[in-house]
Symmetry: C2
Subunit: 694 residues, 2 copies
């Protein structure tokens, strides 16, 4: 041994409950902890070091293993909402307790499931360390080969990117295409070989591997530095703007680092590993938490019709200072009483729970964000938004208004206003809020994904729970399964969503990779349901074209499930296609069970889901830019029962680019023995409703 003082106690090994995943943990001759992982005998992660460096103490090397603890756990729990009504949480646990020659104590806890593994650092109370100003975490995920990966570029402030498919060896080159489009912080830091999680990898021997984290609390988000020569990935924690990655007081447990693995892509989609690694709900009475399907005053601002969030064009208006009733209205402000009333009517007529209204409050006249100390007031409606009237009108119609809190990334000012803002919501009969953090963060020491903003997100969700408010957060740190702990956190954006169809478009592969990546953290407010996909329709100079057929938009309600699900298009467009719109009206937003039938990353997904509140099944499928024939095996249906299938499909000549609105609606009877070949157009999709026949 190199260092005489270090003596290893011996390696530790543990397997998944079904024995197919094997983990090996040890310390090397330098006393550096490491692990490796295999699946059905194939290497998933080769020897990869573990540790954390803080200003005060280096938990890196010269460790010996003091002891190991093992345990098994098996429970079935019931989420408040989601893709499943019950989730099995079954794992074998190994905790490796270590001490180094400086007397520093570090325990690493591994949980091995049948679908992967999570591990975290647990720093116990100890004499040699109390506070840690984190310099870096040295967690490695070394791949044994030059895997293919689907990644977005490293960035401390945004994740609204298209994914890139690349070999590990080509990551640096592949990320160059983002030059000029990524956020200021990414440019600044030149993260040229850094990628974000959740990422998906595929090995040449057929393994699908998802890397992410679970239960991100009190710690910065993890990105990954890629070594293109060795195929190694290494933790890269988001620093604050002063360069520190986080401030910890012991005892402290880091978030879980997660590896989901299978030789079947469908298992990646079905995995509940990340939810399982989160703590159970902190909210005892969850009866007030209600999934919701909603429409909103929102897409109008993207269509090219020159509609604005702002009431006036006077950029010098200052919320709380300016008398807004004296401003000249710009006449292009859809968040006005008459228009919102129409949305409420439409929601009531078509069974939507809620109406989101963006641009209802003071502060949109200019967009200074980082350069000012207050941009928005959350209790000051614009003069043309008659809230007392609309509150009563919505109540009468049985519809809820959904609040919008765009903070312009001024988290500090939002915290100052939050009690008043939430009380204002309750006083006006709102119980859900869409939050936004567009711009550079205030406090100016923070990034969107640094520890301070992770703490802020927790502060907001807990404060919301106090007020019994549900949250749909945009531009917040990407989700890590915290919806289990805070089920009032219905959805997040945290990816390039449907709005980009008006800003360059989302290639069909985008929505075929999101479920393998971003969605592993939790539901996304993707805003599906665009029927008018060619924006030149509005005849206002906009030439963007959503890269989707109309039928595919219906499928997204199944492939991107969310308990806070929008029908994003304008009511007038739904009224043009009432038969297709019927599917959006019918489709549930919480599920008793889900079955992934077909899947390949960025290529195709076919999924079947059972309504939580009826015996109806739904099947949805999408492809990428290529045509495809889905093969649907209805074996998931209860044996011996007949179902009426209503099939919303691309017409034979449909094509996202040339003929997006060509769809067919047919019915057929199916049973558990039926096998159906369903054609999908380029950029297309299909959606099926299955109703038990009496």
């Amino acid at each position: 041994m190199m260092l005489g003082a270090v003596m290893t106690m011996g390696a530790a090994n543990i397997s998944s409950p079904n024995g197919e995943i094997k983990l090996h943990v040890d310390v090397n001759p330098q006393g550096q902890p490491y692990y490796n992982l295999s699946y059905k005998g194939k290497p998933v992660i080769s020897d990869s070091k573990l540790g954390l460096a803080a200003q005060e103490a280096k938990f890196i090397d010269r460790f010996t293993i003091l002891s190991t603890d093992t345990a098994s756990f098996n429970e079935t729990w019931h989420p408040v909402w989601g893709e499943y009504s019950e989730i099995v949480n079954h794992y074998n646990q190994l905790t490796v307790n270590m001490k180094n020659v400086d007397g520093l104590l570090m325990n690493i806890c591994f949980r091995v499931f049948d679908d992967g593994m999570g591990f975290r650092y647990e720093f116990p109370i100890q004499d040699k360390a109390n506070y840690l100003a984190v310099e870096n975490e040295v967690t490695e995920f070394n791949f044994p080969g030059n895997n293919t990966m689907w990644v977005i570029p490293g960035d401390y402030d945004t994740d609204e990117y298209l994914f890139t498919e690349t070999r590990i060896s080509d990551v640096t080159e592949a990320l160059k295409k983002y030059n000029g489009v990524h956020s200021e912080s990414q440019r600044e830091k030149a993260l040229e070989s850094t990628v974000q999680t959740p990422l998906l990898a595929k090995s040449d021997d057929g393994l699908y591997i998802s890397l992410h984290e679970a239960a991100l609390i009190g710690y910065p988000a993890m990105q990954l530095d890629v070594d293109t020569a060795t195929y190694g990935l290494k933790s890269h924690l988001t620093p604050d703007r002063l360069g520190v990655r986080g401030y910890l007081q012991l005892p402290f447990n880091t978030p879980w680092r997660t590896i989901i693995v299978s030789d079947d892509a469908r298992d990646i989609l079905a995995s509940q590993l990340i939810l399982n690694l989160n703590e159970p709900s902190k909210i005892e009475d969850t009866s007030w938490i209600k999934p919701q399907k909603f429409i909103g005053v929102w897409w109008e601002m993207f269509t090219g019709r020159q509609k604005t969030w702002a009431y006036s064009d006077d950029y010098r208006a200052k919320p709380g200072v300016t008398d807004y009733t004296k401003l000249t209205p710009n006449g292009r402000h859809p968040a006005n009483t008459e228009n919102v009333k129409k949305y409420i009517d439409f929601a009531a007529e078509n069974g939507f729970n809620g109406v989101l209204v963006e641009g209802w409050n003071e502060g949109w006249e200019d967009w200074a964000s980082y350069r000012k100390n207050r941009q928005f007031l959350f209790d000051k409606p614009y003069p043309d938004f008659d809230l007392p009237y609309l509150r009563e009108y919505a109540k009468e119609k049985g519809v809820k208004l959904i609040m919008h809190h765009e903070t312009a990334a001024n988290a500090q000012d939002y915290e100052r206003q939050i009690d008043r803002a939430f009380q204002f919501m309750k006083d006006n009969n709102y119980d859900a809020v869409k939050t936004g953090y567009v711009g550079a963060i205030i406090p100016r020491s923070e990034h969107h994904t640094s520890q301070g903003m992770v703490d802020h997100a927790q502060f907001v969700i807990e404060k919301a729970a106090e007020y019994e408010i549900m949250v749909d957060s945009h531009e917040a740190p990407r989700p890590t399964g915290l919806i289990r702990t805070y089920p009032n956190w219905l959805a997040q954006e945290s990816a390039r969503g449907g709005e980009f169809e008006s800003m360059g478009g989302n290639p069909p592969s985008h929505t075929a990779i999101l479920p393998f990546t971003r969605l592993k953290g939790g539901p996304m407010d993707y805003t599906p349901g665009l029927f008018q996909t060619d924006l030149s329709y509005y005849n206002e100079g906009k030439t963007d074209k959503a890269m989707t057929t109309l039928a595919r938009q219906l499928a997204l309600y199944l492939t991107i499930p969310s308990p806070m699900q929008m029908a994003a298009d304008l009511p007038e467009n739904y009224m043009r296609f009432p038969d297709a719109f019927q599917f959006i009206k019918d489709v549930p937003i919480e599920w008793r069970d889900s079955k992934y039938l077909e899947a390949e990353p960025a290529k195709y997904i076919t999924v079947a889901r059972l309504d939580k509140n009826s015996d109806d099944w739904y099947v949805g499928g999408i492809t990428d830019e290529n045509p495809r024939e889905a093969e649907i095996d209805f074996a998931f249906l209860p044996q011996g029962e007949k179902f009426k299938a209503t099939i919303y499909a691309d017409a034979p000549d449909a094509h996202w680019d040339t003929n997006p609105q060509a769809y067919s609606i047919t019915t057929k009877t199916v049973t558990s023995k039926t096998k159906l070949k369903q054609k999908i157009a380029p950029g297309g999709g299909f959606a099926i409703r299955l109703e038990p026949m009496k």
Copy 2:
């Protein structure tokens, strides 16, 4: 002219109402605005440039004067409390409206009073600029000669320094003595020729000149860079940690830059110019605002008796996480029920309004401050502090407990907790709070005096007003007369206070310069009233000796007036000197009128004050380390009336070092014709109560 495009419209001149102060404003050939100021024909400030540079626009040069506006103003207003029951606000105003060749508009508003001048930049709404990220303000205060100055070193985070007397030419050398004692930020930035305000200067031709600012709102604090060669001082705004001095949206008015001037040092003390430049009270009903004299569980922690704010010695305790009832008490924690009960008894028996208790709440076990994200909870009493019992006990005794909120400089977390904290206060019958910001600031982008913390202070004082809470803030941005606008802001620390008598001592000159400097911004919670000045008395190894006689401590109640005034010593010490203690019991804390009888900076002050609520006068006087004979002319008394004077004076052999507790109490009858020569010991003082004789 150098720049052909620039044409000056002509100089502007204005005088004070009595004509003795003359201001001249013009733009120079480069189009740079400048001013100069004279007093009785003597130059106070020679030509000094004006302007502000932002990232977006430079309001520096190539200006022409578009127009000038003049106005006069004369009002008498009545502060809620203070040294005077009425204050005359009488000035002539000149506003110089300028435009530069880039089209930038800047107005500078000057107000000239009989006791000095204030000016501010007023940036109107304009087309060429909306937001300003301030790079620097170029305001100059150029002295015509090598004045003597009393200064403390530039520092973004603390002002708790002893003053240094120095010629301008020697500032750099004089500030070297602070090496090693100033705060981290001062070391970092090497502010080797920068000083803080309020500062006092004295010219060789006998002028006393105070420089400071008024109404510091939404802007960083101003320090001053000294040019030792030219005798010029120049604005140095505190930046945030990212280097920006402030974010403004137009229209915006800066704080006032203030110059108080006289050939009589007493006028500097009497000047109300800074209050006059602040806005009237924003609080309409001020009936709940009550000046208070208080004692507190506080000095016990300084005496050397090893008493602690912390309940336990377990430095690993985490507020809100640790079960404090399971910690081992350290037995040295004075904020316990029994002890506080004794303080309540003592307060009730001796007519004090309040009892401050420090160390009552969770979080003192360790002091991590900047390294952790939550240090204190403001609604969690320690297990040995029975608040429900003490609340009722205090109520019964007619005494108010005074809250203590030490934030460990985590302003962001304080904002998160503040509503809960203030509600907790009201629920427990507290109506005043002492706040503290010890350590480096969180948000980590801020300094104690950067714009963000100025905004925080405003947020706290306005929030406190909502709850009808009075504030005594420590380690906040130094005061600028905002007590006029927020009369619930009873006092601040913002200087080296009495606590330093246990940490190196305050030389007698310190309390003789504070009223000329720090106190111009507003009252100080100096914590006078130390009777046991030799800390070796406690026989616990502490050798510090307060540099004061006992009689001087009584005088401080008059020379450092405050509506939130402490009797800082332990009750047991007051009981040892009940006759001297009588003065502390008697002395008022708000005044109908004040007359400064004698004054020389850092040397001596004699002041007479008339009780606001009776016809009693009080006279107090102090000297520096030299003995002195004050000459008190009682001409301020109403003619023809007799007063019984109770004189608390140094005994003939008293000396701060060798015999501090030697005092005499004598009585004598005085009238407006009396002249009294009163001896003062080295480091001594005297206090006189004058009661009308019936």
